[in-house]
Structures are given as structure tokens and as C-alpha cells.
Symmetry: C2
Subunit: 202 residues, 2 copies
């Protein structure tokens, strides 16, 4: 993260003195809000930012990463999460999800999760983009690989437990859950996610 | 509900023309924010509203009901929920909770849940009051009666799944969960709450 941030400062200046990376983030926020995730193209975002489209791959690894950082303000690249979850054993997917989300959000003290939820509670578009993103770019792949049926319902059930964990841990801060070690959280919550993905839900 | 509302109109006028019930709600919002749930007294609220303290019992059945309506904007009296949950069989408590919450929030189209979450995400005090209220006036009793150990952790786990259900169903509106029949929701989610209250969590 530090290295990347330094990289921004060192290499990210356009001739005009504006930071390429910042320009892309600002353009992306506008274009994603206007067009939605699917409608927004890398070309349109780069064009609005006045930079070459190759810069999107260079700085964000693609449209997903740019969306995650610009709109969802995720402190990580969603592609990394997906890679983790796609390589987890079927019987440990619940544990993998809990640990990945909790350790990632804990790293930022929950501030980005709170900002994301505030945005979702206030803007219909943010909720739609989060849903599309969550489904199409993370859980469709994970659930498609592991779940026996009802993929979409299972994905939304997973979302209820993940969003609920975040709300209680970072936003409402209910103790002892808010400060519980990730091992305790996973022991309690992983079986829920495991059942929502691979178990009986009806 | 209709009868009660009519009651307000028919009987709730103070001599000065102000509605007693409205005056209590406004005073309660102020006093709860200033003093918290425990610190706020019925006497102080009634005094601020300029009415007799007996009016709190008359209109709201006590401090909990007034808090629920004034601050949490619950479309029901929390004492009624508690009564329901306290009489549910131990092995059906998960189902009872899911059905009670979903049918209650569905009745209002989820608007009050969204308002509550927006308030919790924006005001530290609202989160604290919600937590105190949730624990001391609903789940302490339910979980104290049924859970074998770790009462507080279990209560917060229950909160993660209830709040998450509300967020996905009413705020983010992820389909198919957002429109799923309460029977489908309960079949999927009740076992989670059942385990958080009476099952193995470590």
C-alpha cells in the first residue's frame, strides 16, 4: 500500500501537473454514477479524465479495481478477494469469506465500511451498483462454483450476513462482537455462510 | 392502530391546543438524545412536554414504548415483540424472530428500518441507544431464558443477522431476497438465529 501510494506520487503526474490517478478516480465516480457499472466503459472514464485508457489497467488493474476504489472505496482490489475465494476449499468457503472481509475491514478501522453503508442508505444508485458488483464480480463466481441451486438467493443470503457483520462491528459497534477476535467471529459466523452457499436453505 | 390514532385525535388535546402525544414524542426525542435511554426519566420527559407523567403510560405503555416510537420510530410496541418472543418454544425461537421482524418491517415498506439505519450510521448516540435498547429490553430476556452461555456475544450475533436482513431487504434491496416470501426467508435464516441463540458458536 505504501509502495503503491509512493508510486502514485512519483509516477502519476500528467504534464499539466494533475495526478493521473486522482483524475481517473474523479472521472470514474462521475461516469459510474451516470452510467452504472455495466454502462461505464474504461474508454469513457479515461476520456473524461483526459488520459490514455491504458492508465486504468496501470493504476487499478481494470474496471473492477477502479470501481472498487472510486465508488465503493474498498481498501483492496476486489480481484484479490475473488482469487482467494476461488481457491478456497468448498468446505472452508464460509471461513475464508469471514476472515477475508473482517481482516480487510478491520485494517481500516471500519471507516470505509461505514462510508459505504451511509452511501448505500442515501443513494439508490449506490445500492444498485453495490449489488451488481457484489453479484457479478465476486459471488457469482464463488457461488456458481460451489452452490447446488438457487444461486441468486444464496448470494443475497451471504450478503445479509456479511453486511450485518459490518453494521454491528463497525457502524453500530455492539460489544462484544465489535472487538471480538477474528477467530471467535469466524467460529460463530462461518457455519452460517457455509450453509448459505453449500447447505440446505429451504 | 387506527383506533389508537383516532384516540390521539379525540383525547390527546391539551388545553393549549397542542397534542399531548405529539408533545411527549418531541420531548422524548430531546431527552433521550441528551440523557441516553437509562438516564432519561419518564418524569423529565413529561415535565419537558408540560404534561402529567401518567400520560406516558397512557399513550405509550411506559418508557420503552415511548423510546421505540420517538427515537427508533418502530411501528410497534417493543413490549409486544418481547411478549411474543418470551412465549415462543425454545426450538422455534429463530423462526419466531425472523417472522416477527420481517412481517413488522414489511408492513411499513421498510421505510422506518431505513430511517433507523441512516440514523445509526450518522449518529453515535443513536447506535448506542439502539444497542442498549436491543439488549436490555428485548434480547437480554430472550437469550437469558434460552441460551446456554455467552449471552452477550449471542445477542450481538443475532443482531448481525437481523440488521443484515433489514439492510439487504429494505435498504440495498438485493433481489431475490428483497421480495422473497417470509416463509422462504424464515426457512433460510431461522436456523442461523436458532444456532446463535441455542446452538454451538465456538
Amino acid at each position: 500500500m505504501t509502495e503503491k501510494t509512493q508510486g502514485v506520487r512519483r509516477r502519476g503526474r500528467r504534464p499539466g501537473g494533475t495526478d493521473t490517478r486522482e483524475a481517473l478516480l474523479n472521472a470514474a465516480r462521475e461516469v459510474f454514477i451516470e452510467q452504472g457499472f455495466d454502462g461505464a466503459t474504461v474508454r469513457a472514464i479515461a476520456s473524461r479524465a483526459g488520459v490514455d485508457a491504458a492508465m486504468v489497467n496501470h493504476w487499478f488493474g481494470g474496471k473492477e479495481g477502479l470501481f472498487g476504489e472510486a465508488v465503493l472505496k474498498l481498501p483492496f482490489n476486489p480481484q484479490d478477494i475473488l482469487s482467494d475465494l476461488l481457491t478456497a476449499d468448498a468446505e472452508h468457503i464460509g471461513d475464508a469469506i469471514v476472515r477475508r472481509f473482517v481482516t480487510t475491514w478491520d485494517t481500516t478501522g471500519g471507516g470505509v465500511f461505514t462510508a459505504l453503508m451511509r452511501s448505500v442508505a442515501s443513494h439508490e444508485e449506490a445500492a444498485m451498483m453495490l449489488r451488481d458488483f457484489f453479484f457479478k464480480h465476486i459471488f457469482k463466481h464463488v457461488i456458481g462454483r460451489l452452490a447446488p441451486d438457487n444461486h441468486e438467493l444464496r448470494a443475497t443470503l451471504v450478503a445479509t450476513q456479511i453486511v450485518g457483520m459490518g453494521m454491528i462491528r463497525y457502524v453500530a459497534k455492539f460489544e462484544p462482537f465489535a472487538s471480538a477476535d477474528v477467530d471467535i467471529v469466524s467460529a460463530a459466523v462461518a457455519p452460517t455462510l457455509q450453509r448459505y452457499i453449500t447447505g440446505k436453505i429451504d
